[in-house]
Every structure is written in C-alpha cells, then in structure tokens.
Assembly symmetry: C2
Homo-oligomer: 596 residues x 2
Amino acid sequence: MQVYEAPLRDMKFVLHELHNDDGFGNLEALAEFTPDLTDAILEEAAKVAQEVLLPLNRGGDAEGCILENGVVRTPTGFKEAYAMFRDGGWCALASDPQWGGQGLPESVNKMTEEMICAANVSFSLYPGLTHGGTTAIEGHASDELKQRFLPKMVSGEWSGTMCLTESHCGTDLGLLRTRAVPQDDGSYKLTGSKIFISAGEHDLTENIIHLVLARMPDAPAGVKGISLFLVPKYLPKDDGSVGPANGVSVSAIEHKMGLKASATCQLNFDDSVGWLVGKPHKGMEAMFTMMNTERVSVGVQGLGVGEAAYQSAVYYAKDRLQGRSLSGVKNPGGPADPIIVHPDVRRMLMTMRAYNEGCRAITAWVSRALDAEKHATDPEARQRAEDFVALMTPVVKALFTDLGFESANLAVQVYGGHGYIAESGVEQYVRDARIAMIYEGTNGIQALDLVGRKLPAHMGRYLRSFFHPVSTFIEANKADADLGKMVEGLEKAFGALQLSTATIAERGMRDPEEAAAAATDYTRLLGLVAMGYCFAKAAFVAQTALKGGTDEADFYKAKLATARFFFDRILPQATSAFLAIKSGKASMMALEAAAF
Amino acid sequence: MQVYEAPLRDMKFVLHELHNDDGFGNLEALAEFTPDLTDAILEEAAKVAQEVLLPLNRGGDAEGCILENGVVRTPTGFKEAYAMFRDGGWCALASDPQWGGQGLPESVNKMTEEMICAANVSFSLYPGLTHGGTTAIEGHASDELKQRFLPKMVSGEWSGTMCLTESHCGTDLGLLRTRAVPQDDGSYKLTGSKIFISAGEHDLTENIIHLVLARMPDAPAGVKGISLFLVPKYLPKDDGSVGPANGVSVSAIEHKMGLKASATCQLNFDDSVGWLVGKPHKGMEAMFTMMNTERVSVGVQGLGVGEAAYQSAVYYAKDRLQGRSLSGVKNPGGPADPIIVHPDVRRMLMTMRAYNEGCRAITAWVSRALDAEKHATDPEARQRAEDFVALMTPVVKALFTDLGFESANLAVQVYGGHGYIAESGVEQYVRDARIAMIYEGTNGIQALDLVGRKLPAHMGRYLRSFFHPVSTFIEANKADADLGKMVEGLEKAFGALQLSTATIAERGMRDPEEAAAAATDYTRLLGLVAMGYCFAKAAFVAQTALKGGTDEADFYKAKLATARFFFDRILPQATSAFLAIKSGKASMMALEAAAF
C-alpha cells in the first residue's frame, strides 16, 4: 500500500537545527522567510502532496499516458490536479518575484520537491521541467524573450521541456544533428528529431516551451557547435495569448519501465520557429545552467521515492503478522507478531530510514548553499557556497538516486511476494525510481563530472568547501565521550576519502583512465562521508537537546538511534569503496573489447 | 536488445576443469556421462534456449498470461515451445530413469537450467515447478501414487505446482487454513484458497498436479499440524487418461512487476480429492524436500538472468558510439568510440562478468555435491556432500538472486535511457529477476536458515565441508608467486568469515536476535568467500594451462583477468559485511516499533 505522510518534523530539523553553523552566514535577503512562515508553507505543501497528488499515483501508473491523433492525454485526474497545483502557486515557489515567483529559499523549495516526488514522481516532472527551463531563460535569454515567456512559465500556465537527446546521441551531445537556420528577422527555423523528451506533449497547459539544442549551419563540429533555442509549441501572439502551431509534433510516446504517467515523447521539429538563448555555439553552457538545477532536483526525486517506499514498508511491517519475535511474543492476542519485530526486517527499515534522513540532511545543506550563492553578502561565503554546490551536485544526483532505488527495492523485500504484485503499489516505486539513476546524466557521468571536472577545478578548491567543515567538526568533537565512537567512524572514512583523493589526483595526472576507473566508488565514498558528517552533527544536536531537556525526547532519541545505525551498518561501505579505488584500473581495463 | 549465447566454454570449464579435486571422488554411477556426452547435451540445450525460448521472451512479457472463463492462456508460442521442449526430453533430464527420466548428473542439469532461465525465465517455471513436485512425490509418496503420477510428470505430459502460500501466510506457514478431511477410501477432500501459485493453471499440459499444504481436522496448531497432499486438476482414470475435473478453480491471476508470461494464480480448492504425501502432520518435511531442490534452482535463475543481462549489455557497449576513449581514439573511422572503451562501462561489464563466472563456478561445485550425495560410494564423501549442499543451498539462493538482480540493473545502466524503454528488452531482466529474491523463501529467510539452522547443526559440522577445502587451498597456494596476491585476498576474507562465525556463535548463544541481526551480512560474506575460492582456483587452473601451452590462451587469460577484477573490486565488500556483522544488533533494534 502506498502510504505517505510528509516527514515535517525531520524537515524542520534539517532546516532549522542542523546547519546553523554552515559558514554561509545569515542570508538577510531571505530574512522574511522566518521558520514560522516556512513551516506553514511546508505544512500546506504536505497537504497538496498527501491529498491531491498521492491519490493519483497508482492510477497514473496503471493508466499511463495515451497518444491519440498527435495529442497526449495524461491519466485521469492529472489535469485537475495540475490546475489546483498551478492555482495554488506551487509551480514557482523558488522563482524570482520579478516574473511572478514567490522567491522562496531553495532550502524550503527542495523540501516541497521531496514531498511532491514522494507522492507522485510522474506528476513532479511536469512542473519540474518547467523550472529547469525558466532557469535557463533567466540566465541566458534576451530581455524580450524573458518578458514574453517567463511570466507564463513561472505561473505554470505554460510548461517547459529540455530537448537534448537524439536517438544516436545522449551522453555525447557533440553528435547531435538538429539544425537551426537563421532567418532574416533574427529568429531561426529548427528541423530535427528529439527523443526522451519528458513532458514533451501533454494536456495540462495551453502551451509548451521547448528548449532545444541544435546546430547552426556554420557551427563547428562537436559540442562547441551547439546552440540553445527556445521553440514554443504554439507561437504566442503579441497579447500573450496562444497563436498558431509551430511545426512541433509528437511522433510517439515511449513505453517505459515506470514513470508511466509522465509522457516521454519523441518530438519532430519541422521548420519550427525558435529564438536563440545565450550566445551562438554556447548552448552547452546555457544547457548546463538548467541541467545543474535539475540534477539536484533529480537527486531529491530519489529521496522522495525512497521516503515513500520507507513509509509504505513501515506500514506493512507493523500490519503484517508472521512468526514470533526471537525475544519473546510481542503480540500475544494475535496469531503471530507483526514482522517489524524481526531483526532482518528492522535491518531493511533502518537502512531506508538512515538513507532518507542522511540524504535529507545533505539536501538542506546543499540548498542552504544554493541560497547563499545568490544571497550571501560576504563574497567569500558566496564563493564557498558556489564551490560547494558545484562539488555536491553530482554527488547528490548519483548518491540519492542510487539509494532511493535501493530503498524502493528494500520496500518490496519487506512486502515479500505481495510487493511483487502491482496491487501493493510498492513495485511501482522500484520502476519509478530506476530512471533517476539515468536521466540528467547517468550516475556514471555524474561520477566523471566529480572526478574529472570538480576535483581538479581551481587546484582542488571546490573540495575545500567540504573538507574544511568536516575536519573542523572532527577536531572539535573527537574527545566527546558520547559522540566519540561516531566521530571516530567519521574520521576513519574521512581519512579514506582524503587518501583516495590524493591517489586519484596523482594517478589521474599520469593517466586519466585511472581517475575514471575510480569515479563511481569515489562518488559513493564522498557521499558516505557527507552523510556521516550530517549524522554526527545531527547526533550532536540531538544529544544537546536531550541534555538540555526537551518535550520532543522521542524525536531526538530516534535521531540518535538512526545515527548509530548509520555508523554501524552503512558507513562500513566506505571501506570497500576505498579498497576498490586503491586497486586502480589495471584489472578493469585488462580485457580486450573482443574478449567480452 | 536481448542477446544470448550459452557460455558453453565456461560451463565446460567449471564442469570439467575446476572441481576435479573437490573430494567427492569419482562417481562411478555417473561414469557413462563422459565429458563428450555431457558437452553434446549442453550444446543441444543451448540450441533450444537460443532458438526456441529466447525468441519468445520479449513477446511473452508484452502479452502476458490471460485468464478467461476460468482458463489461463499462455502467450503466443508458449504452447508450441513447450511441446517441443517436452518431446525433446528436456523436462526430466535429471529425473530417475525408473520414471522415464534420463538420470543426468545434476552438474549438467543445472547448466541447462541456467540456459533456460537466461533465455526465458517465465517459461522455465512451467517445467521447473514440475520438477520440484516430482522430487517430493519420489521422496515421500506411496508407491501407488508414484506409479500413477510420476511417469506423466517426468515426461512433462502433466505439470506440477507447489501450493503453500495463503493470503495471510507466506513465511509463517503455521498459520495456514486450508482443510483436508479424510474420506473412507483413504483419500481426502481439500477446501481452501491458495495464492501466488506459479503455473497454477495454464494451457501447456492436459493435467496439473498440485502439491498442497493443508491441515487435517485433528491437526495440532502451527507448523506441526501441516500435511502435504497431491491434488490433481483432473482425476486420472485407471488407464492413465484424464478424467473428471476435481473442484480446483482459478479465481484470478496476479498482475506482477515481471515474469508476466508465467501464470501466478489464486486457486480455490472446493472439496477437491487429494491423497496424502508422506506422513500425517509431516508436510513441512516433504515440502522442504521440494523446496530445497527449488532453492538451488531459483539461485540458478538469478545466474541465468544475470548472464543474459551481461551479454545484452556487452552487445550494446560494443555497438553504441558515444564519446572518445581517454587513452586515445579507438574508432577513428566513426563519429565516436563504442562505449565499451570507457572505464565506468568496463566497471559495470566486468562486475556482471565476475558475478556470473563466480556463481557458475559455485553452481558446478554445489551440483557436484548434489550428485555425490546420491552417488558417492564412500560414506564420508557422501556425508560431506550432504553437509555441503545443506550449507550452500541458502547461500546459492540468496547470493545468486541478489547478484542476478544487480547485473540486470547494471545492464539497464549500460543502456542508459534506452535501457528504461521496453523496446530494449533489458528492463524486463530487472523486473523478471526481482522475484527470485523473494520466492521459495525470501533472501532474509535464507540468511536465517543459514545462521539459525545450518551453522549450529551437528556442532558446526556443515561448515567444515566448506572451511576445509578453502583453508587447504590457501595453505597450499599462498606462497605461489603469481597467485599470491589473490590468495592473500582470499585469506583475509576467509579470516573475516571465521571470526564472524565465532562472533555469531558466541553472541547467538546468549541472544538469538544477535544471530538474526548478522544473518544477511554473514550470508553475503560466506558467498563472497566461496566466489573468491572458486576464482583463486580458476586462476590456478588457468595459469597452469597457460604455462603448459594451450590453444585456448584467450580463454584462460580472460579467466585470469576476471579473477583479478573480482579480488580488486568485488571481494572488498567482504570487509564492509564483516564490520556490519561486528556491530551487533544494538542499533538495529534500538527503536521502539512505535518510533517508526
């Protein structure tokens, strides 16, 4: 059974209690968003997620999207839900007020994203992609394009897409073929085919604004010849209303493993009118603006599904009666004990719980940095925030989506045979979560981004934004009698991370394949240390609260217990990642391709 | 794209070269099955898998089974394929010649099972369940029942099922409610409902023989009051032909995550005539006879799907052009290099390869023991073989199905976005592989069986059948200049396993929850050591062959490379498993159920 109640208490914990000393300072520009106000927003968001979006999740999966006569019909209820969502102002929480957004801090926005994804990840893509699009337009488009498109997109009246992939090129966009021919009036005409376009066509909005990567006739080969264009489904009239169709057609929607209520389209552009966004041949730069925003959001998708899977598993583990506890009957009135009494079921539940709480704590930290890179007054703090965001974006994307998928699978395992049946709703989480490890750059690409771009950038400066707070915390707390064992675990994993960093830097200088061979394990190792740091800090906060006296002792005790579980059972993965990194590329690359 | 070619060379390697010194001796009773003969059988099986079953796999998934008017229709082509399979004598390779079987060694039979599962795991369940049924009947039924049912089942004319689960009880069969009322003629009348019955109803055979767990009126409560009954769909006439219907009806088939071409049925028994198999109230014993056979086979399912996923990923990795190799252009004539050049893609392919080769080597070892427990002339060898089978059955089931699922997911990851689309066929491997971690006892239950039953049995005697060859091998080879590093890795992991065993024994004595809390990690650890032992031995054999001169140098070199990769990249997981075990139950069990 799909069960979800937004984990508001934990969200408030990571927002208001955990990262106060993160070094980004008070962000005066966001002072109006007091804890009281943000908590009220989170509570409202929880209602939308739980009451509007969650009830459509199972049916959306079963029904899927349907393409008929060139029009995509979303599943029953999606149109009404989207209208309610849009009218409630949820489309553009974090957007600039200049375009009608509410200018909410990212730290709050990401928590609402988690809720929306937990309740209905397919639904989340319709407003989600729009948000990526507005970011690219805001960052790179002309004022005229901004005036014309941003207000409608920010309000959610029009939606957006990112049109990158073609059938022969995904990761390697340098190969793309869609052409953009300049016209006398400064516009372009685009022709080509794109695949895997989320929300490429649907019935939720009156217009869809495509951001399309294409090549001009004089473009240099490869990624240096790619430009970004804004191509609306319908050309807007001067009064802002929707005008004639623009030669964009949907030739098919994909039959996918999951995410069935999200329309994944093959789009044809046939002499479609578009306008350049950013500079000619600098499309990759503009694209990365939206891609980076999206990457953190895709990570949060993983967390959202992981949380929903966890709660659904807890529900079942308390409800399902099988066997008796090894430590004595717990449910003497019933024919058996609920399966939550069994250690191996606990192991699964605690693992999911630790993943979710750890990822949520990182989310709050990274989104504090997202806010600080915009609003910090101290230039050094702003720089540190930028560095930290750059470093952590691939980690958040890869780690959270890997763990979200793992949680979804653990939920199925808790349900046993019943979890394999569609009726239970939990196998949907597995299918829905699987894509997040792939899109917006596969997790392997995230790892290469981390190791190949982020580590060496500015002589390793990005990494300092992470290493510094971690080592400071370890030094300050390793003598703490209660936290000691956790800090010791953190210190050991952090040592392995430092050593791995040096190894990769040294070997990678000689041979870039050495860095690439270490990338995935290194990304996991860094992610585990980040989680470990957050859990050790959380334990510190919890312990302080408990010592000081609190009427929320249960919450803080549970936080401590989950932190201990993390150090006992999850962080040891750091050791195997370290050993794998150390082994180098030799055995990985030994076989000739023909030997496979 | 679903690609599969049976790995015959590796099968011959694990059958004929790897385990010659396994201590079970020459099995004279199987002397007629010379390598030449078994290889010829494997080659024929490969043809059936590749040419008959593989082509039906994708369509079977898309079409699924259909229930109409109480009759289940299998997907297009299944009926013809089954007829060909049955007429070819493939239903009963390993069955006793007394009942029309071919008496093939299990070591060969399991390799054919791997092929069948790789090509079409849904199909494999129809003959697979029959085999479990015949084992129970052979072991426990009266001569009259054997005479009446075994020949038809062994030939595949009739198929079988295992009817255990009811909606409120799966793992905890003590709760089951199906009743069996004795009749004057010595038969019983069964009434009740069963769920999740694989092959419970279909159109492949003229009769279906259900083996049903039920409770007699005078039965004691719990598992000690369960008996096993044989209940045919149609009552056979005296001449062996099919007679009147027997009150068994199918009320629904499940809509599942995968395995869609296998009919998973809800069956109602309504005063259905059945006969007791084994002694009254001793149904669990008889059921475990078929369950244990099935558990090894379910493990092999995981291996089969893992191998198909691996080959499909290799196909794509050689075909798909994206990006350029970091060590210089490899495909100068093309627009990009095939993705197999990229280290992170290699990491995924080598991981799958190592999993498959490691599991296949264990399969050959365990099935040699299955043969030896039947045919070894030396009673000590027979005892060792029995011990080894008892020990390894839960390991094979849990390890292989976990790794098969992981391989399926890695294949999707190699395909990227294309892997998430049904068209590619690889996401089907993920959905099909997922169930094997659940059915025939969840992998958590396997782990409890290992730690709670198999370790303590006979004062730890079972474990000696495994520890002895491993420690002997380590002692004999640790000084070997070429193998040294691998043996060192094995020795370290083996040390961790020994220490974990002692820890679990010691703590588990005081508190059984301590053993249960360690179970899953211990199972993985033991599995990794078993794989490590097989890889170190394989490296030894390969090295010896290369030193002696061979015209198959490529095969042996690849074997060495895969072994090195295993020790570099996979075996390090043993360390994290060890640390997790060491941490004990405290943090896992700390939270009150209400705190979840």
